[in-house]
Amino acid sequence: MKVTLTDQEEITVVEVTGDIDSKTAPEFERNAKLATDRNDKIAIDLTAVEFMSSAGLRVLLMVYRNIKSQNGKVILVGVSEDIQDVMSTTGFINFFKIVGTVAEAVVILKQD
């Protein structure tokens, strides 16, 4: 798994490539924390993630809770149908807005 952080003005894009499981979740969490330290508007691009375990979903929820406490906003990008199914079944999906592309996420985050 690889994580890249890119700043687009007041928005930070967290781009993840590879599976997020209990082995890689700590690295994802560390980077997500860096992003939330920098900005309170975050887009997490999961287009290149095929599998996300319970530990990965928990990192997403931690980011959400962290951003929400700063009155910020987080949007997920390119979440695969399989992962969306699991997120829906386990309730995680209720906390997130999900869009198809980073560009869409940036537009929405800029509006706020």
């Binding site: 375990s53 929820l61 699991v86 309730g91």
Partner: protein
């Protein structure tokens, strides 16, 4: 102070690269702590204990760590192991100690034992996926994340008298293809049917056992059908703290805990409580010939009631009996229920064969059973509904006498039998029917009507439809030559055994179903219906379908259309109950006027007003509830008059007169065809004849006075 400067966050011991230290004795089980996991387990007799660690799904353990003697406090072994992968870890124990069954000890250090306090079990992650039969450790203890985001959810605490309970099997509810859901047979699928449950009008689902069990237990080829006999119902617990992974669409990802909690949260959002059917009377380990999974190998004498010769008492009818009035086991049961109430937001519990919970360690009934008393007075369970199945397979029958401590309600088996007998036309039941509709004050004089969970059908026995389609059980498919299942069904097939094209008989069956639902919904106490009865489901006369993973247990949703009159009626009669508080008293009715309305709160009638006929030959009873006495006179409702005629002939019932200005309106007449058999609240037609009503043979009529 920064939390990471505590010295116990760092290891003191190391073996094969695994770091560990002395642990905390409480809580029992495996608990995530900073940097590691705290393991704690009790055994009164073990002389040695070893923690066994597996990478998920691997055949062999990657480490075995013996508890150093200094890690034992009393009879508790505890250890913190560092740097474990919470998601990938599976753990168990080896216990060494005496093996002398005649004295009750059955230690075997060759067996890897599951943790009684594990919060999830691996090994049966997908329903009926073929397991590895050579697995050295088939039911593997796992860790779960206990950080579910409940937001502002809270158990609903609906007053028990306002509940309508819907007894449901998680898999049976949606496994049939006609359910048209995405993940059939799962918690997720129930979530997708919440709109249906709301439309039906129930406000509590009672889930048949969801504690981890093994559907493969005692499985074999069905000699009759050639299919597979399995443990479908799940009354055989492998672990009390773990939800059944095979009931979760995400069980294969180990996310059953989140999936179940999400279901409960959504049900609560929609005003529906969740009650669990819990089985604390025995475990899946069977008798002396059974497999050792956990309890038997950890502390046989503590967990089981044993005969003086070291065999298992069998009050449960399943091989063993949990020793639940042993203080250690009692605490486990209490810990377990507290966990489900606090971590899963469960609203109530129904205890399978609960009479066993009142037996002492030698099996004798206790007058003041400590477990039942503890549960009744527990601060965490204080708002939970506690419901007992107040009998056991050892012959202890406590309906009406179950030690209640002001808290416990009971499945009222007498209600079920009386209503069935009355509807089939038996004589001598009028007094009992009078008790049924009042919440059985003869049984529950001091406990009130809410002690009575009223039901006519449940998972055990005939479906509501089959009560009126079969005289006898037809259990051949169970592979026991029709010897299993009860013989006292009190059913009547209406003329032909089983399915028929005879229109008259089919109409009569539908009418009898409507009679049953009507009486159930106008009875004081707490009504419970069996999932599928609203669609007129049949099990083809099988009254003990515990072993079938097929159409015998899968609700056929297409029947909602085929039997649309039953579904329509069920919805409306549930609404009728919800809309009339006079039907839902918290305290017993008093047969007197204590609000000055000129009418007693309840009055009995017969074919003559004010003259009930309690003679043995009578099959007629009517009663009137005075609306001014609703909820002990604190609110005003319409008055309700119910005429029940179990005689085959139509009979005129003289109606009691109403106060000035009020008139009788027709709410229900089960003798009429669909569309005219039940009317929505506010749309009941005014009766032309306010003096008498011709109640059809085997029919029920409900009037509202307003």
């Amino acid at each position: 102070m920064a939390t990471d400067i505590r010295i116990d966050y760092y290891p003191t011991h190391e073996q094969d690269g695994i770091k560990f230290r002395r642990g905390h004795v409480l809580p029992f089980g495996a608990t995530m702590v900073p940097n590691g996991v705290n393991f704690s387990i009790y055994s009164s007799e073990a002389i040695d204990c070893t923690l066994v660690l597996f990478e998920r799904g691997e055949d062999a353990p990657y480490a075995e760590i013996r508890f150093p003697e200094e890690f034992r406090t009393g009879n508790v072994y505890s250890m913190i192991v560092f740097d474990l992968d919470y998601e990938r870890l599976e753990y168990g124990y080896r216990m060494d100690g005496p093996f002398n069954p005649e004295q009750g000890s059955r230690f075997d250090k060759n067996i890897i034992l599951s943790d009684p306090y594990a919060k999830a079990i691996g090994g049966r992650d997908t329903w009926l996926a073929t397991p590895n039969w050579d697995n050295v450790y088939p039911y593997r203890s796992r860790l779960v994340f206990e950080d579910f985001d409940w937001e502002n959810d809270h158990p609903l605490e609906t007053p028990i008298e306002d509940l309508v309970i819907y007894e449901m099997h998680v898999r049976g509810f949606t496994q049939h293809p006609s359910s048209e859901v995405k993940n059939p047979g799962t918690f997720a699928a129930i979530k997708s049917k919440i709109a249906y449950l709301k439309e039906l009008g129930v406000n509590c689902v009672e889930l048949m056992p969801i504690y981890e069990f093994d559907e493969w237990e005692n499985s074999k080829e069905n000699p009759v059908t050639g299919g597979l006999i399995v443990n479908f119902w799940g009354y055989s617990t492998v672990n009390f703290f773990s939800p059944k992974a095979g009931y979760a669409a995400t069980g294969k990802f180990g996310m059953q805990v989140d999936e179940l909690k999400t279901l409960i949260k959504e049900l609560h959002k929609n005003g529906i409580e969740v009650m669990l059917d819990v089985v604390f009377n025995h475990t899946a380990e069977g008798d002396h010939r059974g497999h050792t999974i956990s309890f038997r190998g950890i502390d046989n004498k503590t967990y089981y009631m044993l005969t003086p010769e070291g065999y298992y008492f069998n009050f449960s009818g399943t091989g063993n009996t949990l020793n639940c009035n042993n203080p250690v086991v009692r605490n486990m049961v209490l810990d377990c229920l507290r966990y489900w109430a606090s971590d899963y937001h469960i609203d109530g519990f129904r205890f399978d064969l609960a009479a066993i919970l009142g037996r002492d360690q030698n099996g004798a009934p206790l007058s003041n059973p400590p477990l039942l008393e503890s549960l009744a007075h527990d601060p965490i369970l204080a708002k939970c509904k506690l419901v007992a199945e107040a009998w056991d397979a050892g012959g202890l029958y406590q309906v009406g006498s179950f030690p209640a401590y002001g808290r416990w309600a009971e499945w009222n088996g007498k209600y079920r039998d009386s209503i069935r007998k009355f509807l089939k036309g038996d004589e001598g039941l009028i007094h009992e029917i009078g008790q049924c509709i009042q919440g059985w004050p003869d049984l529950y004089q001091y406990r009130g009507p809410t002690a009575s969970i009223n039901f006519i059908s449940c998972h055990d026995g005939f479906t509501l439809y089959d009560i009126f389609a079969y005289n006898e059980k037809h259990n051949d498919a169970n592979g026991e030559n029709n010897n299993d299942g009860g013989n006292d069904n009190h059913s009547w097939n209406c003329g032909v055994e089983g399915e028929t094209d005879d229109e008259f008989i089919n109409q009569l069956r539908h009418k009898q179903i409507k009679n049953a639902l009507s009486i159930l919904m106008v009875s004081q106490g707490v009504p419970m219906i069996l999932s599928g009865d609203e669609a007129g489901v049949t099990k083809y006369g099988n009254n003990n379908t515990y072993c079938h993973d097929n159409e015998l247990n899968w609700m056929d949703w297409s029947l909602l259309e085929k039997n649309s009159d039953i579904y329509y009626f069920t919805q409306r009669i549930l609404r009728f109950r919800r809309g009339h508080p006079v039907l839902r008293s918290k305290t017993h009715l008093q047969h007197r006027d204590y609000v000055g309305s000129g009418y007693p709160d309840i009055s009995f009638h017969g074919t003559q007003a004010w003259q009930p006929d309690f003679a043995a030959s009578s099959r007629c009873l009517a009663f009137m509830l005075d609306g001014a006495h609703a909820k002990s006179g604190t609110i005003t409702d319409d008055s309700i008059y119910v005429a029940m005629n179990a005689h085959w002939d139509a009979l005129y019932y003289e109606l009691p007169s109403l106060p000035n200005g009020q008139r009788w309106h027709l709410a229900v007449n089960t003798d009429m065809p669909s569309g005219e058999d039940i009317y929505d609240i506010g749309k009941e037609p005014l009766l032309e004849d306010q003096v008498r009503f011709l109640v059809g043979g085997r029919s029920t009529v409900i009037l509202v006075g307003k």
